[in-house]
């Protein structure tokens, strides 16, 4: 099985180097419920790792454990040699290096779009207002929302808000971006604009961990797919393997439940332009 994986795909990005982020037997319990039952996988620099699987399988929990928004009950999360949940680790220093994008955007409603993006650098890095505003303007241009800088989040569409949230996370110049179901709360017509911003980020070489139900995005943009079920990783591998020749029945069940038959989901097609990374 492993031999087949090797012949089917290019070598994994960053393989041979130390992973930037690694999860080693992570356990998380909520009372009697074991949300994560020993999850292990690695993320290399420049990779887009997509976490897929049924709702409630622990994907989002894992993401919150990654930047210590949640404590863990076993195992370790390591960011470039630093153990995230070690008591001696300054969680805030690590969080600066991991940008996070939430399902419900969580923009700050009392701040303008520009200030939403600038507030991280000014508050956390002590950057002067002017410089932070310049960086924010630059990032808003990048996500196509420079004209909304003076608006308040409430006047923006969901897709626009999520693009601002991406810019806000990027303003801290993180090494890794964590996306927690970034398009799940969006109207279908605005999903595309968010995914294409994410795709551009991936093309620029940003390291990304994406919890998603957008299988087309995962297949086209993801370099490594991790399939979750009941708090466990049931399968992981390059997208060609996971989507086209899943080795585990669980994966097959999950994909067929979504209506995935190895081809693009129609709705997802408009979202992502074919890219140079596609064969």
């Amino acid at each position: 099985m492993i031999a087949k994986r090797k012949t089917k795909s290019r070598p994994r990005i960053g393989s041979g180097t130390a992973p930037i982020l690694s999860f080693e037997g992570v356990v998380k319990r909520y009372g009697p419920l074991e949300a994560l039952a020993g999850v292990s996988f690695q993320v290399h620099r420049g990779e887009v790792v997509c976490l897929i699987g049924p709702s409630g399988s622990g994907k989002s929990t894992l993401l919150r454990c990654a930047n210590a928004l949640e404590t863990i009950d076993g195992g370790r999360v390591v960011l470039e040699g630093v153990e995230v949940h070690d008591r001696r680790t300054d969680a805030r220093k690590l969080r600066r290096r991991m940008g996070m994008v939430f399902q419900n955007f969580e923009l700050f409603p009392h701040l303008t779009v520009l200030r939403n993006v600038a507030v991280g650098p000014t508050t956390v890095l002590g950057m002067p207002q002017r410089q932070a505003a310049e960086r924010a303007t630059e990032l808003l241009r990048k996500v196509g929302l420079a004209d909304k800088a003076a608006h308040y989040p409430a006047s923006l569409s969901g897709g626009q808000q999520q693009r601002v949230a991406i810019a806000r996370a990027l303003a801290m110049q993180p090494d890794v971006m964590l996306f927690d179901e970034p398009t799940s709360a969006l109207d279908p017509e605005t999903i595309g604009e968010v995914l294409s911003v994410m795709k551009r980020l991936a093309d620029e070489g940003m390291t990304m961990v994406v919890v998603t139900h957008e299988m087309d995005f995962a297949k086209r943009v993801g370099n490594w797919i991790v399939v979750f079920d009941h708090g466990k990783v049931v399968e992981q591998g390059p997208p060609q393997q996971v989507f086209d020749e899943p080795t585990v029945q669980r994966t097959r069940d999950f994909l067929s439940h979504l209506g995935w038959h190895g081809e693009s989901l129609a709705a997802a097609d408009l979202l992502v332009q074919p890219s140079s990374t596609d064969p």
Binding site: R64, N67, R96, G99, E106, L107, G120, T123, V124, R168
Partner: protein, 219 residues
Amino acid sequence: MTLDWSVVWDNRWRLIAGAEMTVILTATTMALALPGGLLLALLRLSHVRLVRSSTTGFVEFFRATPLILQIYWIFYVLPAAFDIRLSEFVTALLGLSLNVSSFNSETFRAGILSIRPGQWNAALALGMTKPQVLRKIILPQATLRVLPALASTWVSLFKDTSLVSIIAVADLSYVSLKIRSETYRVLEVLTAMGALYCLMGYPQAKLVDWMHRRFKVVE
């Protein structure tokens, strides 16, 4: 019954001075009770159980007992039991501030708790410290939400200051009641007193109504 309104006109400066005292008491009390209420609210949200429970006890005591008792208690018990002697004005200010701080703390606490946890997560994920999250993200939103409630408390306070007349603080009530007992012109003096309170209180009440409309939370 003949009415003699000259008694009001003759004592106009005393009444105005009383009204001034009422305004000063209201404004000073609120100036103390806003930070006081915020502090109590934060203590009540503390992770340390002892801090939380003792603050809760303090707040509940001041909310559950009459203001008049609190003022009397500070006025008579503090000097007798602890040999702490305060002027009438300071006594009044202390009683009102403790009382209103307790009410404000509940208002602030409700405001802080009404901000959804995702806002905390988003700010923490940027690398902010908890105090930074509170100052930059949570409190600005919470304050805006509770502004109408704080304004209502202000108007109640404005009227409740009349209670300090019992310890001879020369506010509008004390002055009015004193003029009444000097002149026996009950109807004229009480009417003037009512008119003055109303003149000052009505615009405040209207302002509160406006704030309720202006800062209504739309989610």
